[in-house]
């Protein structure tokens, strides 16, 4: 084999595509966790989004309606999380785990009821998945066109969300208050900021973004929903968030790294003589290595994981 079979420009283009759902989920997680709510339900929310997008598109034959539905589905699942953890002050990790387990099963059940098949939703014809967009101007520049043109709309959304999230977090009232609530909710409360309202907003935004990230898997990258099709991407996004120190740019760069690992592993399959299962391990092993090396050093928002209860 030749190394350029793996390391070439199309590998980077593939990295951009594969990172997209991770970036959206990680930015979503950032809004939740910067506000002080651990969101390990990203995986479940992505699954809900992926399934809803595929199922709604199959019924309406319109991927845009599917996409919006996925965002709404993500919002609703996140609302379960928010009500349980903010209103009822349940343990955030337990609630997140429950949601992840729940949405391993719910799509199969709904798919069985809607389409008579629990394993997957019907295959969508190509014209019913999200279109590829060419960006005028960029599509005529040799290298950039391959990297940044001809992608699904969600890819561009993810790219735009990175600076947008930075701006929201560091330049707006909402961002300042969200960060304050995640670090020291009492201080925010005494300054007249509603801790619950900010946390709801953060968790719900994580639902919308992770839901869209899920939709990318089923109606962008693929053309149907298959069981557990996120395959741990929600957790990888969470790892990227930690690796990127809860910063929008850092987290997104970390997502690119994981996206690259996945792209390499896909390309190596069948090219090198290692059993495919081992090659598929690459992104997950990388996640563990990164977390083991960084989890102690990255400082999370101080109030993360702690429900806010007024003294006495």
């Amino acid at each position: 084999m030749d190394i350029t079979d793996i390391l070439n420009l199309s590998l980077l283009a593939s990295m951009v595509r594969l990172s997209t759902p991770l970036v959206l989920a990680a930015l979503g997680g950032m809004y939740s966790e910067r506000g002080g709510v651990i969101n390990i339900a990203l995986e479940g929310i992505m699954l809900a989004g992926a399934f809803t997008a595929a199922a709604v598109t199959a019924r309406t034959a319109n991927p845009w309606i599917g996409l919006v539905s996925a965002a709404i589905a993500g919002l609703l699942v996140a609302a379960i999380h928010a009500v349980a953890t903010i209103q009822f002050k349940a343990d955030q990790v337990v609630v997140g785990t429950a949601i992840n387990i729940l949405f391993l099963g719910v799509p199969a059940l709904a798919s069985g009821a809607m389409f008579g098949s629990t394993g997957s939703t019907p295959q969508l014809p190509r014209e019913q998945t999200l279109p590829d967009w060419n960006i005028p101007g960029i599509d005529s520049i040799p290298i950039l066109s391959q990297l940044f043109s001809g992608h699904k709309p969600i890819v561009y959304l993810a790219i735009l969300m990175v600076p947008a999230s930075w701006y929201v977090l560091y330049r707006t009232r909402f961002g300042l208050r969200l960060r304050a609530v995640g670090e020291n909710p009492e201080a925010a409360d005494t300054a007249g900021v509603s801790v619950a309202r900010m946390r709801y907003a953060g968790v719900l935004m994580s639902g919308v973004l992770a839901g869209i990230g899920g939709a990318y898997l089923s109606i962008g990258q693929n053309s149907l929903f298959t069981r557990n099709m996120t395959a741990g991407r929600g957790f990888i996004a969470l790892a990227a968030l930690i690796f990127g120190k809860w910063h929008p740019v850092g987290a997104s760069l970390a997502c690119l790294l994981f996206g690259l690992a996945e792209a390499i592993s896909i390309r190596m399959q069948g090219v090198v003589s290692i059993p495919v299962q081992f090659i598929q391990l690459i992104p997950y092993v990388l996640t563990m290595v990164v977390l083991a090396g960084f989890i102690g050093r990255a400082t999370p928002p101080k109030a993360i994981g702690v429900p806010y209860v007024k003294e006495k």
């Binding site: 009232r173 020291n184 201080a187 409360d189 005494t190 300054a191 007249g192 101080k302 006495k312």
Partner: protein
């Protein structure tokens, strides 16, 4: 009463109940506009509760509040802020990774929903800080500021929100003597500019020096309302406690004998200045109290914990009666006669959910006759616990209660009882009276002197300079992990020792 006398704040018959506890029993007080009004009382007297009601944190069960003569309903801190109230909490309400400006504007940011106007915010912060002499770097991060500077940020926060009435909860508890002087000057200048200031405290000397009027609370009730000019420390203490209290520690000169503890060139390496030790050497003899003065976080905690065996040193040796104890774990050190009253009783001193009997044997729980080879000897433990509770006046005297159910002072008395009962040769005492009321302070101080006179060597660390100076026979001053000097507690001035504590003089 004169007609022109204006009250900024009046509370009339305010009552608040938490479960079975009557925290505020129909309290009434009136604060003159443009004055400094002190509210004093022991822990649990209800002074913080009253102020939290005023600031909208808690809802009163009954009673009314008047601001500038008008009855107002204050449901949450937002209402209080709108009425011109501002509160500086004992534990600062600051977001550490954010900047000074971000903290000050939080909740009332200038600009639009889409963009905070940071330029305007910074300008306003500078303007306020100049106007009131509260010097601060508007772009510094809170975590990089000293405690005194953080307190200035808290005051600026209230002024930024247009506060006319400032409530300060134990504002001097965390300050060095110099910072206290500066703080008083700031508070006086605020008053002279027409602000009304309410200060909650238990330090009588400060009340007498600073305030115009004093409200004394005890057991949830207002028991006195006096003009500071007519008040004396003894009189205030009697009102607070409900009986005569000895404010000064009574002791005779020490008669030190052989050295019990010798520490040679002790060093601890740490990534920060706070938390490191540098070549600390000291000696504590039988029958004396060696005090360590210093601003908290200058190595005192580490020093005590290393001697107690709770953390290892990087270099240096520790000798107890001439023998090295460096390799012994905390239990073995305790069995050699080292008692330890830790600074954080909730973290190091007690198991809050265990009963008093279990807490009374921590550290000696393997020793005969409390324990047999396998099983604890419940009856002997209970008898001993009952004796300790009686001798040390722990209330309520019920050894089946969880430690959590006790007040801070009684929790501390339980720890003191447990530690002193082993007949210690060496006593390591850290912040012995933190969060402890006057009655219990008197008791603990008396016990320490008793043990000293019985021949124990005592190493005392406290953030309360008064406590160090009145109890100790000799005093070392620590700054940034070093011993920067020794002073005679009988002759040193507060200014002189304060300067040493902040690294100003060696």
């Amino acid at each position: 009463m004169a007609e022109d006398l204006k009250y900024a704040v009046e509370m009339r018959g305010v009552t608040k109940r938490f479960g079975d506890v009557l925290a505020n029993d129909s309290i009434s007080l009136a604060v003159e506009s443009g004055s400094i009004h002190a509210i004093i009382g022991e822990n649990g007297a209800g002074k913080s509760t009253a102020m939290n009601i005023l600031y909208g944190f808690y809802a009163a069960d009954s009673g009314e509040i008047l601001i500038d003569g008008q009855a107002r309903s204050i449901q949450n801190p937002g209402d209080a802020i709108r009425l011109g109230l501002g509160m500086v909490h004992q534990h600062f309400m600051l977001v550490e990774p954010l900047t000074v400006t971000e903290n000050i504007i939080l909740g009332s940011e200038p600009g639009s929903s889409f963009a905070i106007d940071f330029k305007q915010a910074r300008a306003r912060v500078r303007e306020l800080s100049e106007q009131y002499g509260l010097r601060i770097d508007a772009d510094a991060r809170i975590e990089d500021l000293s405690v005194g500077q953080q307190q200035r940020v808290e005051i600026l926060k209230t002024l930024y929100r247009g506060a006319q009435i400032l409530i300060l909860d134990e504002p001097t508890a965390v300050l060095t003597p110099q910072e206290v002087v500066e703080m008083f000057a700031i508070l006086r200048s605020l008053r002279d500019r027409g602000k009304t200031i309410i200060i909650i405290t238990h330090k009588l000397a400060e009340v007498l020096a600073l305030s115009d009027r004093i409200t004394v609370m005890r057991d949830g009730r207002v028991v006195g309302n006096i003009s500071t000019r007519e008040a004396t420390a003894e009189g205030l203490a009697r009102l607070m406690v409900g009986r005569e209290v000895l404010l000064r520690v009574e002791k005779t000169d020490a008669h030190p004998k052989d050295a019990i503890l010798v520490v040679n060139n002790l060093s601890l390496e740490s990534s920060t200045v706070h938390g490191s030790l540098n070549d600390v050497s000291l000696e504590v003899r039988a029958g004396e109290i060696l005090g360590i003065a210093g601003v908290e976080g200058n190595g005192q905690t580490e020093l005590i914990e290393i001697i107690a065996g709770l953390r290892p040193q990087t270099r240096g040796e520790i000798l107890l009666e001439g023998k090295s104890i460096d390799r012994l774990d905390p239990r073995r050190r305790k069995n050699l006669g080292i008692a330890h009253i830790p600074e954080d009783r909730h973290r190091r001193g007690l198991l809050l959910d265990f009963d008093l009997a279990a807490n009374s044997i921590l550290g000696v729980h393997r020793n005969s006759p409390l324990s047999g080879a396998v099983l604890l000897n419940e009856q002997i433990i209970a008898e001993r616990a009952n004796r300790l509770v009686r001798e040390y006046d722990v209330r309520p005297p019920n050894i089946a209660l969880p430690a959590r159910a006790l007040s801070g002072g009684n929790q501390q008395k339980l720890i003191v009882a447990r530690e002193f009962d082993i007949n210690p040769k060496l006593i390591l005492v850290s912040q012995p009276t933190r969060g402890v009321d006057i009655g219990a302070i008197e008791f603990i101080h008396k016990k320490l002197i008793e043990l000293r006179d019985a021949g124990a060597a005592i190493l005392l660390v406290s953030a309360e300079l008064d406590e160090i100076l009145s109890l100790s026979d000799r005093v070392l001053v620590m700054y940034e992990g070093r011993v920067v000097g020794e002073v005679d507690p009988r002759s040193v001035s507060e200014e002189e020792i304060g300067l040493m504590m902040t690294g100003g003089k060696r």
